[in-house]
Subunit: 384 residues, 2 copies
DNA sequence: TAATCTTTGTTTGTTGGATATACAAAGATA
DNA sequence: TATCTTTGTATATCCAACAAACAAAGATTA
């Protein structure tokens, strides 16, 4: 049952969370401004602010500009009250960052890997975290959690059921990390994390309903609806790489045929080009190589078909095309836009934004670190 | 700004709504049971129940069975405190029902139509509502609102932007009905309404995330996520009839090509069969007509492709195949299931339910009437 | 320059809802 | 018959938001 009914304590916690959220979003801000914006009485704001001050989640920075009377006391979010670890496990790299509570990167560890058996990756992760802990500055709350983004199917309990490109099945990474470091751990699908990262810190900050397409070796989609990640019943939502776009199409490794990612992923591109480097193809295109340019146009068109399906399905505010193929933005953007214009329902196109990531290779790692921070803040506010 | 901050009044309203909801779902129920289930103190429940009694939203039916002590007073939802009108506008019919607050149909008006210009339909609707008002039993709140389901694109303000099969563009049905009857009016897309109807009263009562496919002349999809209708940015979500499933496929009336509804709708079937009656084809199939049976298998397979895409995208609890093609369940169900088994990701298939409507032709009309009731209950509880 | 007005934030007291306690009613059980 | 249980109400208490008064500090104006 838990939280069916409401009472004063819940009201207080929610108002406290609201005050903190306003400070995070709108700092520098005064108590009076918070009262104004939130609708809470200024006495209420004062009392909640004082609690947050005692918890070191915010701090005062002295008087601000007067607007005709007594000068306000300026409040700030204490973004260094603690730190979060964000890890992005790719097919040929592991990226590990330490961020403050506002998603600024303080430390970064990057290692490319050739093979990806779980023990190998686990060893790398472990030593990365250990050295980050050693380098990290002191703070009130220390590391508030570890987030990991994985290219695979992750259930809501944090088990990695399947990560084909890593060769993993049924990996209990969450439990292993929790046992090692005794910290909260969040495991998420890489596309979901990227979506959240861009929504929190990147291209999606102004939008409510965002579809983030992670176009890399395969294609996954992170779905943000009403500013919240949508996970589906078990956490498997967004496997749109295996959306059929050609019923008579070519077989896919998943056993189906005509899947989107068989046409519009990095893998599909490299297969078409008979190449093994996206970067090389981009360089060719930049040097006016007709074939490379044509191949990108083709991939862009295929991406457009899938995005058409996404837009007609979700009527989103924004679609973000992320991950590796975003590197080829210059060559694929126009074909995508043209395909949408020619296929997607007119009403759905209006006010729809097609954008590219602002966080570059950090979308996923920042996303999981943001999950960790969100969880920390929520529990910190509730517990006191 | 409105409801950013919380206070005691909001707590009370939500607890009152919770108590009412429990009575609606679990009647017959006693005050003690409500306290048990909700976690509210029995004194609180007592006071809220007394308010609801005064508002005639619930009533007492005398003592129930003792469980070892004083006998409880049994409470019921007063489903006849008011009534709702639900209207389903189809391409060749208008269906109008009057329901009580629990979705039981009291009066039904049905009229088939040949042509669908707006004034014609409006006249029909108007006289239907008028005669329903005349026949309706007396009640405390009378008609609490009018809901209308339309096969077209409806925005969140209730304007019908486009209903191609009715030949309508930019119709202000909501305003016109409000002016005529001075009652709250809700206009919704027919698939969204069907989804809500089945979720409230039909096949979807046990599920959180439901995709309701309205397969008729065209295909639309109603999306229920976490028990709530998802509408997208403007209210246009679920236009999956225009999801591309064959990039080299045949042109669609929307200007695109390879759209799902060009392959898997009633229209597609009739075109293939060179017929103009679904009912006739079903009769043929029942009389062992090989061609008809083969055609249904084909349509079933095409439906399966689209459902595959839906499942991989949403990881839903349930997919409901509704509207006209559900009449051919006997002939299309197996091909659909086979297609899903052969294409959809294994993890997504587990625990996924493919079902057919339980409300038959009433899915949409019951859905809009349920929208009306939901709005009424919400406002009634808040206002006192 | 002094008087007044504004804005900010705190202090003190009030309000309204949930909760705790006591209790009455009514039936089950020993 | 005495005791225990369960249901529901009445009364008192608690707690968070709110309201009012006020102090601090600066702006404005006569």
């Amino acid at each position: 049952m838990e939280t069916m009914s409401w009472n004063q304590q819940i009201v207080k916690k929610n108002n406290k969370a609201l005050v903190l959220q306003l400070i995070m979003e709108k700092e520098p801000i005064s108590r009076a401004d918070i009262a104004q914006v939130s609708g809470l009485h200024k006495a209420t704001v004062s009392s909640l602010v004082n609690e947050l001050l005692e918890e070191d989640l915010i701090y005062e920075s002295g008087p601000g500009e007067s607007s005709g009377g007594r000068r306000p006391v300026i409040l700030h979010f204490n973004k260094v009250a603690g730190y979060a670890v964000g890890i992005d496990i790719g097919v040929n790299y592991v990226l590990c960052i330490l961020t403050d509570l506002k998603g600024n990167i303080l430390i970064e560890k990057n290692q490319s890997v050739k093979r990806t058996p779980y023990p190998t990756i686990m060893t790398i992760i472990q030593s990365m975290i250990q050295s980050i802990i050693a380098e990290m500055p002191a703070s009130r709350y220390g590391i508030v959690g570890i987030g990991v983004g994985v290219p695979g199917i992750v259930n809501k309990q944090g088990s990695i059921l399947l990560a084909p490109n890593l060769g993993w099945t049924n990996i209990q990474l969450k439990k292993d990390l929790e046992d090692l470091f005794n910290l909260p751990v969040i495991i998420e699908n890489e596309a979901n994390a990227g979506a959240f990262g861009e929504q929190q810190f990147g291209a999606g900050q102004d939008f409510q309903n965002i579809l983030y397409i992670s176009a890399g070796i395969g294609i996954g989609v992170g779905i943000i609806l009403n500013k919240e990640l949508f996970q589906g019943k078990n956490g498997f939502s967004g496997e749109m790489g295996h959306m059929i776009i050609d019923i008579n199409g070519k077989p896919c490794s998943c056993g189906s045929r005509g899947c989107w990612e068989a046409y519009a992923s990095e893998n599909a591109l490299l297969e078409l080009a008979n190449s093994d480097s996206l970067e090389l193809l981009i360089e060719l295109a930049e040097n006016h190589d007709e074939t490379a340019q044509r191949l990108f146009r083709e991939i862009g068109t295929y991406l457009g078909y899938g995005i058409n399906n996404i837009i007609n399905t979700f009527n989103p505010d924004q679609v973000i095309l992320g991950n590796r193929l975003a590197l080829a933005r210059q060559w694929i953007e126009q074909p995508i836009r043209t395909t949408i214009e020619n296929h997607t329902l007119a009403h759905h196109q209006k006010e729809m934004h097609l954008d590219f990531p602002k966080l570059g290779k950090y979308s996923t790692s920042l996303g999981v670190s943001a999950f960790v921070v969100e969880k920390f803040i929520k529990e910190e506010v509730k517990s006191s």
